[in-house]
């Protein structure tokens, strides 16, 4: 099983089309690093992206430098995965 310790899901609220395209650019800037759980669609919809722990600093700096407001939707993915796995094991017992 891949481990996602320290990976976070950031929820970004793009104000306009320009900011949305800055987010789309990320897929090219960081190929196979940023995993859009909710892709850049329209300013009224949040963009959720999973960022590996190793890329967090860069990505947050990129967002902040472009004035992209974000919040941390999931602080550590592995914590939720461990809880999910434990719940499955418990149910199976």
């Amino acid at each position: 099983q891949m481990n996602f310790t320290g990976d976070q899901v950031l929820r970004v609220l793009a104000k306009n089309e320009k900011q949305l395209s800055l987010l789309r650019d990320l897929e090219g800037l960081k190929p196979q690093k940023v995993d859009f759980w909710r892709g850049p669609a329209r300013p009224s919809l949040p963009v959720d992206m999973r960022v590996p722990f190793s890329e967090l600093k860069d990505i947050k700096a990129y967002l902040e430098s472009h004035g992209l407001a974000y919040s941390i939707m999931i602080k550590d993915i592995q914590v939720l995965l461990d809880e999910e796995r434990e719940a499955m094991a418990k149910s199976r017992r």
């Binding site: 099983q1 891949m2 996602f4 899901v9 897929e27 190929p31 196979q32 995993d35 859009f36 759980w37 909710r38 892709g39 850049p40 669609a41 329209r42 919809l45 959720d48 999973r50 939707m73 999931i74 993915i77 939720l80 995965l81 809880e83 999910e84 719940a87 499955m88 149910s91 199976r92």
Partner: protein, 310 residues
């Protein structure tokens, strides 16, 4: 392995093996109304299974429901399982279900992407695509919701095999998609198609590949509105609704566009809840409430399909 569906936990997530065992048990225990059909094999040669709900007749008009085309969207498989049990439990009791099944069949494909789903349990919980690989291509997997013929390769799908929305080398190149296309085309009398995804609380209809409205836009809008209202009344979950391209984003080569262009007027795509906190990692405690609310929307669509033959 589970010996009967009564000991199966409908409020937990399950592995592919557990789900396939449940399908066997379910079809055995409800053989008067449910049966198991294999419609093909996945890229890694796993069976692709469909549950058929029928009270008789032949070539009846039918409703198609699929879940799990994106492997990591575990809430969709769990909702499909719960819904299957609801259908058999409600037949003979609930007016809508009884009327629907007395005149139509229902086909439900619970694990539309078995290879990807197995991979989320074995290696990568956040895997989305199938597991196909081709000589000379470094990355694995095709996004099965970009591999359909309608609008194939257009905006909102990606030509790079490493992208999460890679559309594949050609329309229906993926066995998981080709199996559904072949089955629905051969059946020839599917009147509604409901493809269930997660997440973001949306109920959408074609088109995704273009901003052009479909010719039945008004009826689909009104039906989606009623379905979303019925869903909201269960647990207060607010959905937005509309065509895919105007509600979410342009996406090409998707299931519901192909279905609509193939003559299935009532084609809908759900994006189930995450309550804004969990994304694909929705806790199992939310399986039942999610399935309960989704059921009311599905029933609304089924009843409309029954009452508006075409």
């Amino acid at each position: 392995l589970e010996r009967s569906t009564s000991s199966f936990s409908y409020s937990s997530y399950h592995t592919l093996e557990e789900i396939y065992t449940w399908i066997d048990n379910f079809a055995t225990e409800h053989s008067d109304i449910a049966s198991k059909i294999r419609i093909g094999y996945s890229f890694e040669n796993r069976s692709i299974l469909v549950l058929k709900f029928s009270t008789g007749g032949s070539q009846r008009p039918a409703i198609w429901i699929d879940t799990g085309i994106h492997a990591r969207e575990w809430i969709t498989h769990a909702t499909g399982i719960w819904t299957a049990r609801k259908i058999v439990n409600e037949y003979g009791k609930d007016r809508i279900v009884t009327n629907v099944l007395n005149a139509m069949d229902i086909f439900m494909e619970i694990v539309s992407n078995p290879d990807g789903f197995a991979f989320t349990h074995s290696m990568n919980r956040l895997w989305r695509k199938n597991k196909s690989s081709r000589p000379g291509i470094f990355c694995i997997g095709v996004d099965l919701n970009r591999n359909w013929k309608s609008g194939f390769g257009g905006n909102g799908s990606n030509n790079s095999p490493c992208s999460e929305t890679y559309h594949g080398p050609s329309p229906q190149s993926e066995p998981e998609v080709a199996a559904i296309v072949d089955f629905i085309t051969a059946h020839g009398n599917i009147k509604a198609l409901i493809s269930i995804h997660s997440y973001s609380q949306m109920l959408m209809y074609p088109y995704g590949h273009t901003l052009e409205p479909v010719s039945d836009q008004e009826e689909l809008y009104s039906l989606a509105k009623n379905a979303v209202q019925a869903l909201y009344e269960v647990h207060g979950m607010e959905y937005i609704f509309g065509s895919i391209s105007t509600t979410l984003y342009v996406a090409s080569g998707i299931t519901v566009d192909w279905a609509y262009d193939s003559g299935i007027k009532y084609s809908f795509s759900f994006e189930l809840r995450d309550t804004g906190r969990y994304g694909f990692l929705l806790p199992a405690a939310q399986i039942v409430p999610t399935a309960q609310e989704t059921w009311l929307a599905i029933q609304t669509i089924m009843e409309h399909t029954l009452n508006h033959p075409y």
